[in-house]
Point group: none
Chain length 402, copies 2
């Protein structure tokens, strides 16, 4: 069955939204064995949406539409669907009654604009929105099922996962094995894996790099022996499979070993702690974090020597190491990670340019520090530093376990 995705919203066309419903839906559909055959983004224009809905219904078996379902005047997807499929309008008061109840529960009065949400294409099925206001809608357009979903990512994902994916699912999941790698260049990964594949498999190999790790999509149908050899060849650079995130893997290793962790951050300013805390259950291993941004706080909170800061500077191996050691000392945790560096755009000094970063790890009386020159802007430098720091800990735990 051909499935396509349509996103509605002027903000998408102008590149103003950082939410990416299309990418999320594409990954989910592909994993269910239904890679989309087309993705389209359209403006908040009834006529354009209407025409595209008609074309899509003629060429595909299912169309997932996101956005334009809300209560404001530029939300026109519902009306476009009414126009496209010609069945007229049906008013479902229960939709508004439910939204009104939710507003009341939160202590608010429902704004009048929401009354319009009761007007839906005649015969459409209402897909309950349990995390937000506007419900989704399913329209039977003959040979094609049209699903209209709100553009708010949390709401879209919830409705799609609960009510749409099970209906579309073919039972033939995407059989491609995904290996997750950290600390190698994309080309190095490709060179290593290429030696295991024949020409046809190599063509279907896909390697996607991001600041939080590399995903290696091995071709579907590859034999398990080759998968195992690929894992061996990647060795310690392989940190997980599927959609594993580095922080999940690290938290899992720490929980398994019963170890506690604290963080002492300058450069990353809480980002490292926040990544760890993003993992459900992190509280079993993560005790506390210190964001020691000022020099004074590094001295007072972590006990870094004033002399070290004056002699070596706050961005130095000595200070980075003392931060990690101080964090272990005051918290009583098993392990501390520390970061210090120059995120830019200001802050460079002679011999220390923007992107210079130190990452520290203190555990069982041994402190190691690593220096890296990170590329990218302020946000990217901080994100890469947090990632390398987590990867340092992962490798240390791997080594210790041998």
């Amino acid at each position: 069955m051909r499935v396509e995705i349509i996103t509605v919203g002027d903000e998408v066309l102008r590149g103003e939204t950082t939410e990416n419903n299309t990418v999320w839906l594409s990954i989910a559909l592909t994993a269910a064995g239904l890679p989309p055959s087309r993705q389209t983004s359209l403006p908040d224009d009834i006529g354009v949406i209407r025409d595209e809905l008609s074309s899509a219904a003629a060429r595909s078996g299912a169309v997932i539409v996101t956005g334009g379902l809300g209560p404001t005047v530029d939300d026109v997807t519902r009306q476009a669907a009414i126009d496209a499929f010609g069945g007229g309008i049906e008013v479902r008061d229960e939709i508004v009654i439910e939204i009104e109840r939710r507003f009341r529960e939160l202590g608010f009065t429902m704004p009048d604009g929401y009354r319009d949400l009761a007007r839906i294409p005649a015969g459409a099925e209402v897909l309950d929105n349990i995390v937000g206001a506007a419900p989704g809608l399913a329209i039977d357009a003959g040979e094609c099922l049209i699903f209209l979903l709100p553009g708010v990512p949390g709401e879209m994902k919830e409705i799609f996962s609960r009510l749409i994916l099970p209906r579309l699912s073919t039972g033939e999941e995407d059989q491609r094995k995904v290996l997750r790698v950290y600390g190698l260049m994309e080309t190095t990964v490709e060179e290593r894996i290429a030696t295991l594949l024949d020409a046809d498999e190599l063509e279907r190999l896909s390697i996607i790099s991001s600041p939080t790790g590399i995903s290696v999509y091995l071709p579907a149908g590859i034999d398990t022996g080759t998968v195992e050899r690929a894992k061996e060849i990647l060795g310690d650079d392989l940190f997980g499979e599927g959609s594993d995130r580095l922080e999940e893997v690290v938290v899992g290793m720490l929980r398994e070993r019963g170890l506690t962790l604290v963080t002492a951050e300058s450069l990353t300013g809480g980002m490292l702690a926040s990544m760890i805390v993003s993992v459900p259950g992190a509280s079993e291993t993560f005790l506390e974090g210190y964001v020691t941004y000022s020099n004074e706080s590094k001295i007072r909170i972590l006990g870094v020597e004033k002399n070290a800061i004056e002699t070596d500077g706050a961005v130095s191996e000595e200070v980075c190491g003392q931060m990690a050691e101080g964090a272990v000392r005051i918290s009583g945790a098993d392990i501390a990670l520390s970061t210090t560096g120059i995120a830019g755009p200001g802050g460079a000094t002679p011999g220390k340019s923007v992107g210079l970063c130190w990452m520290g790890l203190s555990h069982a009386g041994v402190t190691e520090c690593r220096k890296r020159k990170m590329g990218g802007d302020r946000g990217m430098i901080r994100l890469r530093t947090a990632g390398v720091c987590l990867d340092m800990l992962r490798r240390r735990l791997l080594t210790e376990n041998r």
Copy 2:
């Protein structure tokens, strides 16, 4: 002139690529006064690409196509364009000679696949690729200009900026005034602004909501009097303009007033500190942060009373207030922000469900705490809490300054 963007590649449809040529092109075109009228992603399928090129040429004045220009068998965009515009093929040996020279320069032999790059649609203009191999192509399709660009982001951006944007540019940059709002619902913002606009302006009003604030795009050409009235009507809910972020505005206010800030986070786990630190120059106002995730760390680091945690629980007004007060006391900062709550999916207790959050602010001897039930998943609950916390501080500073 209507401009649209077409991206070619199976990997885009599967959501595997994190590069986003479409978003980059959309931002660049919008800034040049040419917001795209449509974005489409297509598979590596000659027939599908051919048909869409024909449709696009019929409805738009310019089409930017990225991807599928390389030397491998799945690169079919060139052939699709040859088929779509019916002018036949032209062989330009100089394209391959140049690529061969570059390979030689780097000490490599050019793979044979590249020879195919000489076959282009008859009459097309070659757009030199000075950072990679495959050149771009410009095709005059009557009423429409078709630009074919490589999918490699660095190559695409270079060719687009140097050779295409200057050709398309109207000289009319995006004139829309953007107002940034926090703490109101989208519909409330619309209701307020709608009173100032006529029907035509109202139709061109665009309001985009995200967890980090609402952007109100006032229609281009609106008179300055109306813009000023819109600002008045939004009052304290207006926090900035253009691309202002809440954390930038708050850091700016603190720096202006010479006030220092610290954070004491449980629920948000460093995210609040990290948002503040993401602002260049934050070090002038932000001293340090405490991520007191365990109860023990709330007591030991911040001096929260053990009794308060036992009686009221860690997620309570009392503990939230004591966290902020303790942070001011130990740091000597002017202001502390604190967060505690239940991010889920676990952690709910009788009477305290997932999403229950407390945000505290201590300043000048006065501590206020606010309770909110946040919707969304773990990440969204944490992000919203950090946002509300920053907004609390912004409003407090506004009030104090009157």
